[in-house]
Amino acid sequence: MEETVPTLLLAFRAILSWGPTLKFINKGMITLIPKFGDHSKLGNWQPITLLGSIYKTLAKILTRKIQVHLPFVIKPNQTSFVMGRSILDNNFLARESLEWAVKSGHDLFLLLLDFEKAFDKIEWGFFFPALSKLGISPKWIKWVSSFY
């Protein structure tokens, strides 16, 4: 502990001040781990990406920092990943609002959208300025943008 904390602090400070030039900290190594069975068969090996501890520690710290604020930041219409919210709300809301629209004669148009490969397609250049508009602290954004 006494040895790792100063080292990590040093690394984190370097990341913050050097930013994008230290992008290599999120580089991973892909390797294979053997599963049960015949190891001459490729199917019995599992690929895994190993990330560095500096990256993992920093990512965990940043995740925990943002986690507690999410219920106040993320609009209530998003029900995933936010503590205290449930996908069931979406189901009930969809069913009951449809039912209500039919009963009361309101005209309702419901559009269910499907995004293609959403996770890896985010354009970060658009995203980081948008984050500060949502009220996320500039420091947090700076940290995260240093490795994305």
Binding site: L70, N77, S80, L111, L113, D114, F115, A130, L134, V144
Partner: protein
């Protein structure tokens, strides 16, 4: 971390749909006065709105803008539209 970043990005779309005065889509007003425009789970979005041409146009503009800015792409072939009273 990636999941939080993702829902933050989707939150931007949510704000575009109901905060932007120019393109604010007229949603469904529920009995108690609450108005819903959209409901999201990760990247699955359900849009609720009054079926008028102007609403459709606005929704389309907002979605196109979001896709243009974020590089996200909507798969229209896998998207579903439901008319409640037709």
């Amino acid at each position: 971390m990636a999941s939080y970043l993702f829902i933050l990005a989707m939150d931007v779309l949510g704000h575009m749909l109901d905060d932007d005065t120019k393109y604010k889509v007229e949603g469904l007003t529920l009995p108690k006065g609450r108005c819903i425009q959209d409901q999201t789970f990760v990247d699955d979005i359900a849009l609720y709105f009054k079926e008028t041409q102007s609403n459709m146009d606005k929704a389309r503009i907002v979605l196109d803008l979001f896709c243009l800015a974020s590089k996200a792409k909507i798969n229209w072939g896998k998207s579903i539209a439901i008319w409640a009273n037709k």
